[in-house]
């Protein structure tokens, strides 16, 4: 790892100030991607600003069907939150299957969204749930937030503070994990809101990262069932082909994972 200057911020505001003052600083949330990347010398930040001491970024808040999850809430905390599991079991189940137990104890929802790995799980949930991403500067709608592989609408010195969404009336997540990395080779989050709107988000499969699937949304709007998925054409255009599976294989996985998401 290259040399760096470590700072621990007590609040999101302090972190933003430290980031602003640094030459080429990086925010450290759970570090489950950043630290391995720095160890490989693929990242070389002049400063690392650790958010683990920022109490204002912690906590899960539930009010009626409104859910707010602090950016520094870990995957284990999301998975283990009883009230959240009762209101929105799909996101609890998603969090319980990210990485492995040690990663879930340290990795955070804010870190996952800021990184926007094309095979990460949370981006699918956030996009399908039509969540709002609160930052140190503003609030960003999920549809405006994800801009392709490892790319988001976040400005250089902008920090995610919380994620909020309205719990869906029905929802689910189907994931085919790569057996070695546990990242999604295809993950599909389906959500139906109280007004009947259906949103379907796909992660892991596309060259452009997480995206919504119009065909699946239309089919499930008409008929919220696994059999409705059968007639949907899933194009392999723009899907990933790598040593783990080609684009046609991933297109089929999207269909199968959508069915699993529907239970």
């Amino acid at each position: 790892m290259y040399e760096t200057n470590f700072h621990k911020a007590a609040t999101a505001q302090e972190a933003a100030a430290l980031l602003n003052a640094s030459e080429d600083g990086k925010i450290l949330a759970g570090g489950q991607t950043l630290i391995p990347t720095m160890k490989q010398r693929l990242a070389d930040p002049t400063d690392v600003i650790d958010l683990s001491g920022a109490a204002d970024l912690r906590g899960i808040n539930i009010s009626g069907d409104q859910v707010t999850i602090g950016a520094m809430v870990t995957h284990a905390e999301v998975a283990g939150h009883a009230a959240l599991a009762a209101l929105c079991p799909s996101i609890s189940q998603l969090a319980a299957n990210i990485g492995d137990p040690s990663v879930r104890h340290r990795g955070t929802i804010g870190g996952s969204l800021a990184n926007n790995d094309p095979a990460a799980d949370y981006p699918a949930a956030v996009l399908a749930l039509n969540a709002r991403i609160r930052t140190s500067l503003r609030e960003i709608a999920a549809d405006d937030y994800f801009e392709g592989m490892f790319t988001t609408a976040l400005e250089d010195h902008e920090i995610i503070t919380a994620i909020s969404f309205t719990a869906p009336t029905q929802g689910g997540y189907g994931k085919f994990p790569n057996p070695a990395s546990r990242y999604a080779m295809a993950g599909v989050f389906v959500a139906k809101s109280a007004d009947g709107t259906v949103r379907v988000a796909v992660t892991g499969a596309s060259e452009d990262g997480v995206h919504r699937h119009g065909g699946l949304e239309a089919a499930l709007s008409a008929d919220w069932s696994a059999s409705a998925v059968d007639g949907v054409e899933i194009s392999s255009d723009g899907l990933l082909s790598d040593l783990h599976g080609n684009a046609e294989y991933r297109a089929n996985l999207i269909k199968v994972m959508t069915k699993r998401a529907l239970g």
Partner: protein, 160 residues
């Protein structure tokens, strides 16, 4: 920078570089070499320790992030050489190792998993043990006896 924490119940403090990993702090500065490094990619779990009671990969966090934390390494489990932790006894009795390199991480992951399942009142089945071991690699592929050891250790554990 000066980094202080509690390791295995003892207060420690060392002056180290900002980019020191927690595993380097534990092994190189404290000379507690029970915690192992088995990969360069955060995948193998040989370095798992408990930070404030939770299993974490000490190779995937900075020592500075653990400032003020209570850390338990594999050396901190046994009361003495003759009074091993029930999970250590279970690994010994069930031959839960081949070369032994991954064993410290396996045991730290095992004690964390059993404690969590006991706290939540859930039963640890063979299937759930295998699922919980996703972050720990035994390169000898000796998983069968590791799983047996953890099941046995779980039946003997009343607390971590």
């Amino acid at each position: 920078m000066k980094i202080a924490m509690t390791v295995n119940g003892k207060s420690v403090s060392r002056d180290v570089a900002d980019n020191t990993l927690l595993v380097e702090y534990i092994r190189d500065n404290l000379r507690l070499t029970g915690t192992h490094v088995g990969c360069d990619t955060s995948q193998c779990g040989a370095c798992v320790v408990h930070v404030d009671g939770k299993a974490m990969k000490s190779c995937t966090m900075l020592a500075a992030s653990a400032e003020g934390a209570a850390v338990t390494t594999v050396e901190g489990l046994a009361k003495s050489k003759d009074d091993l932790h029930p999970m250590q006894v279970a690994f010994k009795e069930n031959h839960g190792l081949q070369c032994g390199f991954c064993t410290p991480g396996m045991i730290m992951t095992a004690t964390d998993m059993v404690a969590r399942y006991q706290l939540e009142g859930k039963t640890l089945t063979e299937e759930s043990i295998r699922h919980e071991l996703e972050g720990n690699i035994c390169r000898c592929t000796g998983y069968h006896n590791i799983v047996k050891s953890i099941a046995d250790g779980a039946s003997k554990m009343t607390s971590v």
